[in-house]
Symmetry: C2
Subunit: 440 residues, 2 copies
């Protein structure tokens, strides 16, 4: 009998010239070109697993180099074993004693491991013929716990505690799955608030967001205080007192700056301040949170692993945990983070946007609802209406909610035509017009 194996791992550097219109512009990222180090696992039986690491332009080639280096640990692996236990691959990728020196568990190599691990979960869910959120929700608590590396987490969450959390949620799984399929999962929108947009566009997009059913919108801040006061004032006037407005500084401040700036914005009743300072600064976030309450503190899109999330929770540094599908070591590490958040009773509002982050992370939030936290209270997945047209199974939003995906897999696959056109630097989109991404 021929064993089904991973035949090859294709890697593609794909970049979208979003900086031309300043979509995605914030205080730290004035000109992002939303990009991905994209990966396809091809198997001898013909099934594919797709994954990617989201990037913002320059440096995507470094992430692609990392994917290529790690691909050797995937090529030739028996598919049945891989999909039955992606955690085993995750441990090998993340724990490789030589690669580990370049992290450990952070940055370029960790995100590459995550991209490959996610591609294996995509493959697993495709072969099972189910969307990933449902595939995960159907796993037994013991099997989920076995997917997590608890080495550095046990002082905050043990295997037994994780099992207890999952078992208590098991009873209501079926009902919540029906509810999710019927009603979707709450979304919030960042579409109105990019720094590069003028006041008129800001006001119009705020109005449209409320009209589209969103109850929470997000504005970028941190460029200039007077601008922020004006922009937040416009937004508050447009949306009224009952719509929540989160603000996002994208790490621009030190701790004292964050506190001072947020005091100046407090008259506009901001709901949370996101990334007030370095994502590494657990104690700094805790200090900001103490100073700006009742404004909440949110972070996570750049929090590089579960050890950091553990400490943010232990230190009481965050009110909102923002998981990201592409920052940590894949689905497995996000399982750990969801369980940590549940243990500490902190809601998860995933980071999304970019390219494909909405498509991926919805599966994790929906799994959390069905099988972990069991709740959507105080929770919403970020939504940005960019670049979904490049995906085979794009997210579907209705009345401010994500509809549950029903296609098999993790919704990671991009259209072949898009991969062709935006491949860097030889795709048509780049051959025609060299962009900021091409030059340092």
């Amino acid at each position: 009998m021929v064993i089904d194996r991973v035949l090859s791992v294709d890697t593609i550097d794909i970049r979208f010239p979003t900086s031309r219109h300043r979509d995605g512009s914030d205080a730290m990222n004035p000109f992002p070109d939303y990009s991905a180090a994209y990966v396809v696992l091809r198997t001898s039986a013909g099934a594919e697993g797709h994954g990617f690491v989201f990037t913002v332009g320059r440096g995507t080639e470094i992430e692609v180099a990392a994917l290529r280096s790690l691909a050797g640990m995937v090529i030739g692996q028996p598919v049945d074993e891989l999909v039955a236990d992606p955690g085993s691959l995750a441990r090998r990728l993340i724990g490789d004693s030589q690669i580990r020196w370049l992290g450990p568990e952070k940055g370029v190599v960790h995100m590459a491991a995550g991209g490959l691990v996610n591609a294996v979960w995509d493959l697993a869910a495709r072969r099972a013929g189910t969307p990933l959120w449902k595939f995960l929700s159907a796993l037994a608590p013991e099997d989920l716990v076995a997917q997590i590396d608890f080495r550095y987490l046990r002082d905050a969450l043990t295997e037994d505690e994780a099992l207890d959390l999952l078992r208590s949620a098991a009873a209501g799984r079926a009902g919540r799955e029906r509810l999710l399929l019927a009603e979707g999962y709450p979304a919030y929108t960042t579409t109105p608030g990019w720094l590069g947009y003028d006041d008129e566009k800001l006001a119009r997009l705020c109005r449209e967001a409320v009209g589209s059913g969103y109850r929470l919108i997000k504005l970028k801040v941190g460029g200039d205080l007077a601008d922020d006061v004006r922009r937040l004032g416009i937004a508050r006037q447009v949306v009224g007192p009952d719509i929540r407005i989160a603000v996002d500084a994208n790490q621009i401040w030190g701790v004292p700056d964050a506190i001072e700036w947020m005091r100046a914005l407090s008259p506009f009743d901001p709901y949370w301040i996101e990334e007030p300072t370095s994502p590494d600064d657990v104690l700094g976030h805790a200090a900001v949170r103490r100073a700006v309450a009742p404004v909440k503190v949110a972070t996570g899109e750049h929090v590089h692993n579960a050890v950091m999330f553990k400490q943010l929770l232990q230190a009481g540094a965050v009110d909102v945990v923002q998981i990201d599908a592409c920052r940590v070591g894949g689905v497995n590490e996000n399982l750990a983070i969801l369980l940590l958040a549940a243990k500490f009773g902190v809601p998860v509002c995933p980071h999304a946007g970019g390219v494909g982050l909405c498509e991926l992370v919805q599966h994790l939030a929906m799994f959390d609802f069905v099988a972990v936290s069991g709740s959507t209270d105080e929770r919403a997945i970020e939504y940005v209406d960019h670049l979904h047209e490049h995906f085979v199974d794009p997210v579907r939003i209705d009345n401010g909610r994500y509809l549950a995906p029903t296609a098999a897999g993790m919704s990671a696959q991009m259209l072949a035509a898009s991969l062709d056109e935006y491949r860097f630097p030889d795709g048509r989109a780049w051959a025609a017009a060299p962009a900021t991404t091409a030059t340092a």
Copy 2:
């Protein structure tokens, strides 16, 4: 007039097959091949700046890819401006809004920035005709402070506090420089303690270390508790009660494991436990420190930036700060870390070993003695007697002390013949015998 500019940035993947003899073997790194992503800045006037990122084998190609990506920000730069203000380049390399997504300030891209920044300091000191430690020690406090990015540090250390620290040390600089040139700087040795060595070799190397004048030796632990008890017993018996024995777990434990294991080793009076757990776990180190006192806690070789060192100090998590020359964003960020340690009154005992880490980091420790902390009490630079023969200006050790380097630069330059022989994968050392590094 022709302006002197950086003409090119050469990058070389260089690997030494150290795993063949298990030199450097520890609980997390059973088979390291000491390696470097090596970089040479070539200038139109002919001067060169050398730097590198230390790695341990597989993945060095990823680090080389990162150096190549960042090199564009260095090529063409006027040399006078670069060497007068390396901090400006450091900010551009670390702050680049697209590259930053891959960190920020951590892992592959941050180390690449550090390698380039260090090469600029090497170039600066060479052009001045002085060793880097002396070059740095001669800078005015204002000029040193201007080299540091304080954005995320001000809640622990302000510019004014840094100035005060440097000004109070300024008075004694000349005297300490003479003392350093006369007596050198204390070293400790890790040579005896690699996990892959048998008991007889351990005992012999411990005996030799004491005979060579070392007052502190270090043993790797964390593989097997019974082995560690036996090995530490042998070492303690050989060296007697007055020689300090540090132990190093290389991150193998979680917090509860670390506490339990160190209690079992306490009868042998370990001096410090190094890397008891994840380098990201500030709160975990603090918990371990509280539990294992009076055994000290040390970490730093994998602490990825100054924000993390800041928190380790704020949380009272470490007794010993172990800076590394190649982990953070170069000399500039290490200036910040030295000042943070001085502010908190915690001694710095640099991590070294590998290939070339001793050569680089001695400059930082000696600068710290002359111009920052003003002390060598409770301080020592790690020393391992591997691979120094590949350097143009290798470290010189005498009676357990580093002698101050006198050649111009940062001692980073490897011999051309060594670069030829160990270049991966086409150097003679690799063409002849494929090694663990070549296959995942």
